[in-house]
Assembly symmetry: C2
Homo-oligomer: 296 residues x 2
Amino acid sequence: MFELKGYLQTRRHAVNREIERFLNTLPYQSRVVEAMRYSVLAGGKRLRPILCIAASEAVGDGNATVVSASCALEFIHTYSLIHDDLPAMDDDQLRRGKPTCHVKFDESTAILAGDGLLTLAFEVLADLGLRQSRSDRIWMKVIQILAYRAGVGGMVEGQMRDIGTQGTPLGLSQLKALHRLKTGALIDASVATGALLGGANAEQEQALRSYAGHMGLAFQVVDDLLNVKGDTRLTGKAVGSDCAKGKNTFPALMGTSASEKYVIGLRDQALQALECFDKKAAPLRAIAHYIIERNR
Amino acid sequence: MFELKGYLQTRRHAVNREIERFLNTLPYQSRVVEAMRYSVLAGGKRLRPILCIAASEAVGDGNATVVSASCALEFIHTYSLIHDDLPAMDDDQLRRGKPTCHVKFDESTAILAGDGLLTLAFEVLADLGLRQSRSDRIWMKVIQILAYRAGVGGMVEGQMRDIGTQGTPLGLSQLKALHRLKTGALIDASVATGALLGGANAEQEQALRSYAGHMGLAFQVVDDLLNVKGDTRLTGKAVGSDCAKGKNTFPALMGTSASEKYVIGLRDQALQALECFDKKAAPLRAIAHYIIERNR
């Protein structure tokens, strides 16, 4: 039996250490960096970096370079949270149990902190790529996938649809498409990045990205469920806030119990995608269970 | 005598054609892409892409790949304009003679359009890098410089200082430092990118970046001067808007006439930096004159 708790903890610590290092070496330690630091270090689960590391471990080894690269995923994740929380967007006051960036600082600082984190992600990856003796091509592919999935080919388009359809009921396929972009895209990029840096062959990469596709959707359905019936003290978000905003969610569309069944089906498909891997994929398997059972 | 008008026109057309092509091949042609298109195609001078192309021509040839890569600079420039114009930032209604992005669309769309353009810049460069048979290393360096200069190592920090110091008088060295970041950083990245892609050696790269350093500052001083005494019909911006906001500007600090002399000194230093180049640097030289004589 794989011991996930210790695994998550050691990986999270390694990622946090690297994040701190990147932030400390920024050329200015100014107000905007303070805001970037505040949001990045607000205590996230580091799920995306850990998925990247675990994917690289499934095919190779999760070495220090992969840990460094995985921070780019957290920078992009945090940038998207900061911008999504803005008054013009979701207008959220609470994130990870703390005041959101624009509440703690102000709107202009929050916009710039997001912009700073987004660019930092690419800077970090280019820096790492230039420092390696092995093929730059893999690093260029990492940057390409991440830029594509963070932009109009993923998160930006997903967020646009999310905001644009509030109050307008979507069908299930539209809701899935929205969340494949908004949430799924970065989870896909996380796993794809780990696969590339771990040296996955084409077949392994495809299997890992199939895993990521199912997990990305499962993650969002669980998020929606936690917004309906979660504990604010654990989730750090106000319960029922999605519903109050007229957001399209899986529980609203399918009902709570069907959503819970749907999540289990997604998890099983994700696990099935990992069948071609040996015990080195144990962390990825355990994370699949963890994601749907989490309460925060 | 170098004929700049025709040069700028052919390069601008080439850049615009590529920009259109990149926008047309985005995976979704949705509201956010419409907003990106609106702002990018609002009729800018394409100065940054043209500086990139001219720098590459000074040391090598400005081939089609350089033209494609140079679009990334315009995407980043436009993203920064969109975000800077937001109500929480400079709250500008008019840009290039047209309603700003958040006025034409709305705030959330404008934030996302900026985010989309910023990521698109890196996607385009990674795509181009992967398509070349020659060294990926140069492309990785291009991405690194651009990410660094767009982020906290340049534009983001510059804009933060610009907003944070409105109403607080700065000294000349602080104002210069601010604009080396806010405006100069992307002009530096434009020239540096062109130098790298043109195959500059270390000495040439240094000379070109010295040129860019002086031109970046000159560009901003002229911008400030146009805001004081320019023609709104030409500049597309409201005259006196900087002053009304209590912005720190060169004319406010040094006076109009000293600012005009300062610009000429900067131009001369920029031209001096180009002394080691032959007539292939004629476009860069002509642009130095153009930038300080422009009326828009």
